[in-house]
Amino acid sequence: MDNNWPLWEIFVRSKNGLEHRHFGSLHAADQEMALENARDVYTRRNEGVSIWVVKSSDITASNPENNGELFEPAQDKVYRHPTFYKLPDEVKHM
């Protein structure tokens, strides 16, 4: 039997109003232990008010090798930005 504890990714909300942010990872036997360990490893100085733990193997990540096809199409869509539209100077606050 493989007795190595699986890896978990830890996300912490540092205060209400902010999103959960990836803080790092750790090993734990199950999700409860992952939460408890995350408390001790990543929030010893009030760094958080909420923790998410996700099993690392459950995350599907994009491959940087595909960054071209994934992200480059956005580069030539200048019309998605406000500066693409020329307005007369008299129009304020738009």
């Binding site: 039997m1 007795n3 190595n4 504890w5 890896l7 790092g24 990872s25 750790l26 090993h27 036997a29 199950d30 232990m33 001790d40 490893v41 010893r44 100085r45 990540a61 491959n63 940087p64 090798e65």
Partner: protein
């Protein structure tokens, strides 16, 4: 991939680092970059973990509840530092198990300083003040290193280190303002920790093998000798403030350079310790291995419990 293609990728890679771009774990990287980072980050993680042992030794004998709480919190931080660094290292495709094996078998190195004994309570002061002080000097530049997971771990580590050094200095200050015996104890600790702390910053530049490549990859921003000089220049005035004498008869302020000149370091001692013949090398590794082995049944039980719970969940779902 052909050699030409790899060379091309390497050039693009080096240019990214030169532009101060960060490298993330899934990005393409030269094998040498991966290996060098696994070695350096794991050595760093091992140092944090083994570094708990000389201080853990004094937790139960701290002279007051205040000191005990501080020391306990510091040692817990070091465990945290080890964990941040191990997980940064694992993103490079090495397992935690393998990393531990390398430490336990003696294949991997850790900082030479932790192979010295902590004989008196004053050593808790000297270790915080000098060893964490030298560690900070080593670590701050790494917050900008090129490998993203390492840089992020270092930012977190550096935020926590300053308390370590301050609580150590406070211990020294208290002893130096106490009885003669207490002040002597502080001086004795400084005498024993001074030279190993200077050695901890690594061999002289002339003997340091990895420096040039490490500079390029921002694994190193300043040379060992520069870091050592920085440490000496910042620490000598602090020793003066404590009324303690640095155990180096050749130490002298040099008006021309604005730095302290210092005596010869016993590099034979350093290499002896690195090669495993320091005062506590065997003790440290065997304490670490025993802790790991004696905890095996707990880890196994936790896994058995987790899979049992999972099985029940699956059954209910069906």
């Amino acid at each position: 991939m052909s050699n030409e293609q790899i060379k091309n990728l390497e050039e693009i890679f080096e240019a990214r680092i030169a532009r101060d771009e960060k490298i993330e774990a899934k990005d393409w990287m030269p094998e040498k970059y991966r290996k060098t980072h696994i070695r350096q980050i794991s050595q760093h993680a091992h140092s944090e973990i083994v570094g708990m042992l000389p201080e853990g030794n004094w937790i139960s004998r701290a002279p007051s509840l205040r000191r005990k709480a501080a020391l306990l919190a510091k040692v817990q931080d070091e465990a945290g530092h080890g964990l941040y660094l191990y997980s940064a290292c694992e993103t490079l495709g090495i397992s935690r198990e393998e990393l531990y094996q390398q430490l336990h078998s003696g294949k991997a190195k850790y900082s030479s300083i932790f192979n010295y004994p902590t004989l008196t309570w004053a050593d808790m002061g000297a270790v915080g003040w000098l060893v964490d002080g030298a560690a900070i000097i080593n670590q701050v530049p790494l917050c900008n290193t090129s490998f993203g997971p390492y840089a992020r771990a270092m930012v977190r580590v550096c935020k926590e280190e300053s308390f370590h050094q301050r609580q150590g200095f406070e211990i020294m200050l208290k002893l130096c303002n106490g009885s003669k015996e207490q002040k002597d104890m502080a001086q004795d600790a400084l005498n024993r920790w001074w030279w190993p702390s200077l050695m901890m910053l690594g061999p002289t530049d002339a003997e340091s093998v990895h420096t040039e490549q490490s500079m390029k990859w921002k694994l190193k921003r300043k040379s060992n000798d520069d870091l050592r000089q920085q440490f000496i220049d910042q620490t000598v005035p602090q020793a003066d403030l404590l009324g303690l004498t640095i155990p180096d008869p050749d130490l002298k302020f040099n008006k021309q350079t604005g730095s302290y000149d210092f005596g010869a370091i016993d590099w034979d001692e350093f290499w002896q310790v690195v090669k495993g013949h320091g005062p506590c090398n065997k003790q440290r590794i065997s304490a670490r291995v025993a802790a790991w082995d004696n905890g095996a049944w707990v880890r196994d039980a936790a896994m058995a419990h987790a899979s049992k719970k999972q099985a029940i969940k699956v059954k209910i779902a069906i």
